[in-house]
Symmetry: C2
Subunit: 352 residues, 2 copies
């Protein structure tokens, strides 16, 4: 993966301009989508539609419609034939593809402004971009307090990548017939609900920061599972904060990528200490080098920069070799790794 | 141009993710360039260089170098072979191509933050993005007061596209042996200097806003041509502001794209009124549909959005048909249009 330079000099020079104007490409594509222009053009099918007719169906000026349409040509969202605009395949994906929509909204609502200071974050090791939302150390503290549309885009992005994986991994997690599972970084309680439905008896422990824990508590109460749930307020960045004991399996989904190498080792050591002999830690994580397609790796590599600029300044979507090394450093023995789960996940099962 | 959808479904889906993450692509490419990482990798040639060795030659943390390198793979600025990073052709252009550098610095320094509100500008017809620099109606008023690095990037971008054209068009302008030429939107006085050097007798009039006029005055004084120059403070947005008479030729380079359709007609009508019979207006302008390559058109289409978001909210890089219509509407007769001048210009010679 990523071994070959696939562009000749001519196409590389073109592509360099697309990079140099990338924020224009992004914002105008988004405007073409949000103002309904891509929809209008799609409705016109293969016959296409003139700029004048498009304008008459929007609330924008002729000028605004025109600069957007012309940008859409250059970006490749539209073609033009005899004065009529037609949607391209790329335009179709900008309009309808769930992954593209989740990525685009997340990029604009959560990351765009903060990415301006990416260089500062790279120098300081802190999420300098987060300042656009207020004075927080990490985005996890901030999450419950962010503007509603920002939270919505954040969760849509987060859940898009994980939701498909949950049904697939349930059987792997319950193979060892655990009675009690601790979910670290329980987030909205989505995974716990899946486990409650899968097993009639399992007890779920959820450990998270107070803000997220409250959300999980409510979700689980609404679904009537409170009597099978235990909640633990933990700040895993505090090395002295131990994990609760008495669980057979510790589960972590898209969680460790939120931490630096040293922090990951520290968290896993505490898992090791909390688990009984032969207890398991099961980790669901997107590993960028274990993707089938380079484009999935690309999405993860870009997401790493979200961690740099916005989340905590020192974590990322990891390469499998680096990640495996950290698990071993904490004392665990690798049982198995299964790649290609859901959209982009690998499941790593490790034993004490 | 722009008639064919060149991407199949698979490559369109990949490209849609590049668009959705475009601000990440932009900022990380810029960081790879600015922190010297692309240079370090280029120096290593075809043998390549490990992440560890790259890190040892920068002031960044191992983490920061790693997330940037991994982003560079996904973006296609780098390849990796046996753990060693190698620069791609695209990486080379990001590093060395003057056009790419001018576009990238302009995008970041002048446009990035303001583009966040592109949708607002499209709705209001005002350059809402300009608010990031202060309370100005247009960027032309603001220009002399912008932070130094922003001004530098603005002028580098502006001059990059025009400078190559000037020597080529001199012979066309002087064909009719004009004694006095009025340069509207004289900017830094660059064109006037070219004319002074080309002709030992020509008198140049420069008409512009006070801020730019002062810069032109100084440049011309420094070069010792003050006795052949006349200066006119004009605000061409004021329809009642006439143009000075007594000039054989009125010259405008990359100027009318700064105005809306109605404003262009109004300015050209005042040129018509100020010129003697058979007087000429010569317009140098990038027309996006008259480019040899789609990539040049793309650069102009993106630049249109700079006018929307940052400059004045209602102008753009025009299509030849629309532009020609405006010239005729003002009363002028087309003498000739010469395309493919310099990097991207067309010269339009029109007669009263």
């Amino acid at each position: 993966m990523f071994q070959k330079d696939t562009r000749n000099a001519m196409s590389a020079k073109v592509y360099a301009q697309q990079i140099a104007f990338a924020p224009f490409v992004f914002q105008s594509s988004r405007a073409l989508r949000n103002f309904g222009i891509l929809n209008i053009i799609e409705d016109s099918g293969e016959l296409g539609i003139t700029a004048k007719d498009i304008h008459s169906r929007t609330k924008l000026s002729e000028y605004s419609v025109r600069v957007l349409l012309e940008a859409g040509l250059g970006i490749g969202l539209l073609t033009i034939d005899d004065g009529k605009y037609i949607l391209t395949r790329t335009g179709y994906f900008i309009l309808h593809d769930k992954m593209t929509i989740a990525n685009m909204d997340f990029t604009h609502d959560v990351c765009y402004k903060g990415l301006f200071d990416l260089d500062k974050s790279l120098m300081s090791g802190k999420p300098e971009g987060l300042k656009v939302f207020g004075d927080w150390k990490t985005i996890y503290e901030a999450l419950a307090h962010l503007p509603e549309h920002v939270r919505t885009s954040w969760f849509a992005f987060d859940h898009y990548y994980s939701s498909d994986s949950f049904p697939v991994v349930l059987e792997h997690v319950f193979k060892s017939k655990p009675k009690k599972i601790l979910d670290i970084g329980g987030n909205t309680g989505k995974w716990a609900l899946q486990c409650f439905s899968h097993s009639p008896t399992v007890i779920m422990g959820i450990a998270d920061l107070p803000g997220q824990l409250n959300v999980a508590k409510q979700t689980i109460a609404t679904n009537g599972f409170t009597n099978r749930a235990e909640f633990f307020e933990v700040d895993l960045l505090d090395e002295k904060c131990p994990l609760p004991t008495g669980f057979d399996v510790i589960w972590m989904s898209q969680f460790l990528d939120c931490f630096s190498e040293d922090e990951i080792v520290s968290i896993l050591k505490r898992c090791y200490a909390a688990l009984p002999d032969n207890g398991q830690v099961i980790i669901l994580e997107p590993l960028w080098d274990k993707q089938t397609y380079e484009v999935s790796a690309f999405c993860l590599q870009m997401t790493s920069l979200y961690f740099t600029a916005m989340a905590n300044g020192n974590s990322q979507m990891y390469h499998s070799e680096l990640f495996t090394g950290l698990i071993r450093k904490a004392g665990f023995t690798f049982i198995e790794r299964i790649d290609r789960i859901g959209i982009c996940h690998s499941m790593m099962k490790c034993s004490k």
